[in-house]
Amino acid sequence: MLRLNPSSENRAHLLLTFVLFTLSISLYAPLQLWVLLLVTCAAVMRFSLYMNWQKHQLSVRTLNLMAVLCAIVLAYFGWELGLLLGMLNLLVMASSLKLMLLATRRDYFQLIGVQFFLLGAALVFNQNIAFSLFYAVLCLLLLMSLAFHINPSASWLILSKRVATLCLQALPIAILMLLVLPKLGPLWQMPTAKGAHTGLSDKVTPGDIAELARSADLAFRVTFEQDVPPANQRYWRALVMEEFDGRSWQVHPYRQRITDRFWRAGLPFTPQVSGAYYEYQVIAEPTQQRWLFALDTAVSQDQHLWQNHDYTLQSRIPLQSALAYRVTSYYDNQLPPALPQVDGRLNLQLPEGGNQRTQAWATELWRDNPTPQAYIRAIASHMRQQGFSYTLKPQPMPVDPIDTFLFEQQAGFCSHYASTVAYLLRLNGIPARLVTGYLGGEMRTDQYMSVYQYDAHAWVEWLSEDGWQRLDPTAWVAPMRIQYGLEQAVAHEQSFLADMPLSGLRGMAVFQALRGWLDDMDYLWSRWILGFDRKNQQDLLKALLGDLSPAKLALFGLGALATIAMLLALYHIKRWLLVKRDLPNWYYQKALALLAHSGIKRTKNQGPADFCAQVEKQVPPLSAQHFTALTRCYTNLCFRPLSPQQHKLQLRQMRDLLTKLRRSLRLDV
C-alpha cells in the first residue's frame, strides 16, 4: 500500500530528521557503520519527501522486511557489542526505520520521545563543553519541531521566540532542581561499553610508556583544597605490577584473585593513616578502565570507589564518562604491607632464565654492598658513571632486554630504568615491584592541576623494614624529569610531542594563551557541571543554612518549592501588573466586573457615558448614583488635564465609590 506524503513541506518532520541525523553522526564511535548508513538513508528519504522530489513513502511490507533484516544483523553483531552499545545501536536503528515510515501523529510523538532519550544516552559518551552545547542545540531543535507540529502555519521567527521564552522560563527551575534535589547514588549497576581503552595499560613492556608519552591528551585534573604538593612529589599512583616474565610487567594474577575475593566479600582495605595530608578532588577523563589516580597513602569516602590492598584506588564501574572523586592523601605515612606474606612472596618471584649477564653482575654488586640501601646506591652510581641517558626514542630490545639495556644501549625511558632496578633488587632477595601512574602535573593559576598522558611514568617500590619505599631510578639519570617534567627532560633530542600535528605552534605565546584559556573553561565545566557531587551540594546547603538539621532541610525544601511557584507566578504576573499600573482603568474595570456580576454587561461599542446611561435605567437609584460618579471620575482622569493633587483626589474618590458601589449592589440583591 502506498501512502500519501505527510512530510511535504512539514517543518516538524524536517527538524526531526535533522536532529536524528546529526545526533547519530555525533555518535559515530559507539555506533556501527551499517547503522549510520541506515540513518543516512532514512534522512535522505525523509528529506526528499519534504522537498516533494518523492511523493510516496515506502510500503509497510517493504519496511517490515527491512526491519527483520536489520534485527538479524544487529543480533549477529550485537553479541560482541555488550548491552549498552547494543541498546544504543538498537535505538538508533529503530528510530531510522520509524523515520522511514512516519505516518501518524503517534509515530511522530514516539520518535520525538526516543530522540530525547538518545540525547541523554549521547551525553554518556560525550560530555565536554562543545558537545554539550551541540546537544543543547539539538534539544532546542526537537522542541522547535514539536512547536511546528502543534502550530504548523507559524513562522520560524515567532516559533523560535516562543520556544526560547519557554526554555528561558524552564531553565532556572531546572537548575534549582539540580542544585536542591538530593543526589542519589547509582540505583543499580548499569551496563558499560567495551570501548577502546585509553591511557595506561595493565601490562607494561618497557617502551610502551614511551608511546603514551607522545600523546598530549588530558589524563585527569586535580583541585587541591589547601596545599599543593611540590613538583617532585607528584607521583600519582595508578597500578601496581608484581608479575615479571623477563620482558613485561603486569598485575599479578594471584593479586587479582585476592582483590576479587575481597570485592565479593565487600571488605575494602582500610589503611592506618596519620600525619599531614593533602585534600583534593580528582576529575578523571574517561578511560574505560577501573583504576584511578591518587598520591601516596590515599583514602576516599566516595561510595563508588574501592580501596585495594596495594594502596591503589579503583572505581566500581569502568570510567565510561568523566568521574569526579575526593581523596585525602597522607604523604608522611608509611606504607606497611597490607598482607605481609603475600606482598613478600609475590615480589620476590623471578622469571626463569634469561638476562645472564645481569644476574652475574647483580651477585657481584651485592657481594660488595650487602645492605639494600648500599646496593641501591651502588646501582645509582653505576648508572651515573656509565652515562646512562634518558630518551623518548629507545631502541627495541627483543632478546634479554635487561642485559641489552644495562650493558649495550644504556639509554631508555622511565619504564626501562624501573623495570631493570626492580629486577636487580629481586635478584638479591629484596621484594620490589613496578608502579605505573603519572609524575607531574601542570598548575594553572593556583587553582587546578592538569595531568596529561605524556606525564605517564613508571617507578619502583621496594620493601624495607618500614614498609614500601618509593624509588625512582629515572631521577638518577634525568633529574629534570622529576623537577620540570618530560618536556625539559628530553629537550636535548627535540622529541617531545614531535609527531603531533602543529607541534611547532606549542611554543607560540598566542597559542599558549589560547590553550590555557580553553583549559580553564574545560576545567570549570568539569569541576562545576560534571563534578558537582553530593559534597558540593552539602557545601552549598551549609553555606546557605549553616548547620544541617532536619527541620532546616525541610524548611529549605519548602522554600525551594515556593521559589519555583514564585518563578512561575513571576512569568505570568506581568499581565495584571500592567492593568494595575493604570489605576483609573483598574478601578473602572473592577466596577464593570461588579455590574457584570449582577447581569449588566458593557458591550464593546459602548462608551463609558453611553453605558452609564444604560446602567441608570437598570439598577436601583443608589447604585446608579455611585456608578455615575465613578464614571465621571474615570472620564476626568482619562481625558482632563489634572494637577497631581486633583489626580490623587479623583483616584481616592474612585476607590471610595467602588466600595460604596459594591455595598449598594449587594444590598440590592
Binding site: 510523538f109 514516539q110 520525538i112 520521545g113 530525547f116 532519550f117 540525547l119 541523554g120 544516552a121 551525553l123 554518556v124 560530555q127 554539550s132 534539544c139 522542541l143 514539536l146 512547536a147 507540529h149 502543534i150 502550530n151 504548523p152 502555519s153 507559524a154 515567532i158 516562543r162 520556544v163 519557554l166 526554555c167 522560563q169 524552564a170 531553565l171 527551575i173 531546572a174 537548575i175 532542581m177 539540580l178 534535589l181 542519589l184 547514588g185 547509582p186 540505583l187 543499580w188 549497576q189 548499569m190 563508588h304 565510561q320 564518562s321 568521574l323 557541571i529 560534571l530 558537582f532 557531587d533 519555583i564 512561575l568 512569568y571 505570568h572 499581565r575
Partner: protein, 321 residues
C-alpha cells in the same frame, strides 16, 4: 449500562458546570486541562533520564531530565493562559431541512491578546471536525451537523481543544450554546394536491389542479438567485458560463390560490409532511396564495416569506394527536 449511567451523570454535571449561553468566555470555571498521551510519554521519558543520569552519575543527563520536567511545568501555564480568555459567540443560524447539514458559524474573539496555536472543534463525543489556527484567524469558524429528524433541534455540546504550545497538555472545554434551529421536513418532489375550501367552486379546483404540474409555467426572466429559492430554478447553463447564480422566474398564467390540506395522520405521515413541505416551497416560488390545514392547526391563506416560514414551521413542529 454503567457507561450509560456515567454518561448521564457526566452530562448532568456538565450542564451545571458549563450552562448553555449565547456567548461563552473561557476561564477557570469551564476549562479542563490534563496531560495528553504524549505528555505521559514525556513524563516517563523524564523519569528514564533521571534513572540514566543517576546510574551513570552524570549531571548533564540529570539536568536534561530536570529541564524537560520544568518545561512541562511551564508549558502547563502557557497552555492554560493561551486557551483562557477566548470569547466564543454563535452566529446567526438558518433553519434547515432534515438530512441537510446545518451550518454553525462560530465567532472567536481573542480580546486583543496574542493567542496562538491550533484549536480543534468537535461535537461532543465525536472526532475533531475542523480546526482554526489562532495566529491566522479568519472568523467565523463554520461547523456543520446534520439533523435526521424534523422538529426543534438544539446542537450538542461543542468540544474545543488545544495542544498549544508543545503538545504536552490538552486544554479542552465542552461548550453548550443555547441556540435552537427549526428543522423542516425534507422536501420530496411529489406535489400535494391543492384543494379549495367548501366555499369555493368545484371548477376552480379543477383549474388549479391542472395548472399545478411541474414545468407548465412559462419561462419569464432571469433574476439573481437568492437563498431559499429552490435549486431547480437555478439557470445552470448561465452558471456554467460563469455568470453567477441566476434564478429562472416563471410567469404564472393566473394568480391562483388554494389550500394544502392534510386530512389524515394515520398513514405515511412523514412522507406526507415532506410532500407538503415541497408544495409549500413550490407554491411560494410561484407566488401563489395558499393556506395550510393540518389536524389541529390551520394557517390562513397568504403569501411571502413570513407566511412560508409559518407554514414550514407548522410542518416541522407537527405532532400527530
Amino acid at each position: 449500562m454503567i457507561a450509560g449511567y456515567i454518561q448521564r451523570r457526566m452530562n448532568k454535571w456538565l450542564s451545571r458546570r458549563i450552562p448553555p449561553a449565547q456567548q461563552i468566555f473561557l476561564n477557570r470555571s469551564n476549562i479542563f486541562i490534563f496531560p495528553s498521551r504524549f505528555g505521559f510519554l514525556y513524563l516517563s521519558l523524564c523519569l528514564a533520564l533521571f534513572v540514566l543520569g543517576t546510574n551513570y552519575q552524570n549531571n548533564l543527563i540529570l539536568l536534561l531530565g530536570f529541564f524537560l520536567l520544568a518545561l512541562m511545568l511551564v508549558s502547563l501555564f502557557a497552555s492554560y493562559l493561551n486557551f483562557s480568555g477566548l470569547i466564543l459567540q454563535l452566529g446567526k443560524l438558518n433553519n434547515s431541512y432534515a438530512d441537510t447539514p446545518i451550518l454553525f458559524p462560530i465567532w472567536l474573539d481573542t480580546q486583543e491578546q496574542s493567542k496562538a496555536g491550533k484549536i480543534h472543534f468537535a461535537w461532543y463525543g465525536n472526532k475533531a471536525e475542523s480546526a482554526a489556527e489562532l495566529d491566522s484567524l479568519t472568523n467565523p469558524v463554520t461547523l456543520s451537523i446534520t439533523p435526521y429528524k424534523r422538529g426543534v433541534f438544539s446542537p450538542p455540546r461543542l468540544t474545543l481543544s488545544s495542544y498549544y504550545p508543545l503538545g504536552l497538555f490538552r486544554c479542552w472545554t465542552h461548550l453548550a450554546f443555547n441556540a435552537q434551529v427549526v428543522v423542516y421536513p425534507t422536501p420530496i418532489a411529489k406535489p400535494w394536491p391543492l384543494t379549495t375550501k367548501h366555499s369555493e367552486t368545484q371548477g376552480e379546483h379543477a383549474a388549479l389542479q391542472s395548472s399545478q404540474g411541474l414545468g407548465q409555467d412559462d419561462f419569464d426572466s432571469l433574476t439573481e438567485y437568492q437563498q431559499g429559492q429552490p435549486l431547480y430554478h437555478v439557470a445552470w447553463k448561465q452558471a456554467a458560463k460563469g455568470q453567477g447564480l441566476l434564478s429562472k422566474k416563471f410567469a404564472a398564467q393566473v394568480q391562483q390560490s388554494g389550500w394544502l390540506v392534510l386530512a389524515t395522520t394515520e398513514e405515511d405521515l412523514e412522507e406526507n409532511l415532506s410532500r407538503l413541505c415541497f408544495s409549500c416551497l413550490e407554491l411560494d416560488a410561484k407566488g401563489w396564495v395558499f393556506g395550510l390545514q393540518l389536524p389541529g392547526k390551520e394557517i390562513p391563506p397568504g403569501k411571502g416569506q413570513a407566511h412560508l416560514q409559518a407554514c414550514l414551521t407548522a410542518l416541522a413542529m407537527f405532532r400527530a394527536v
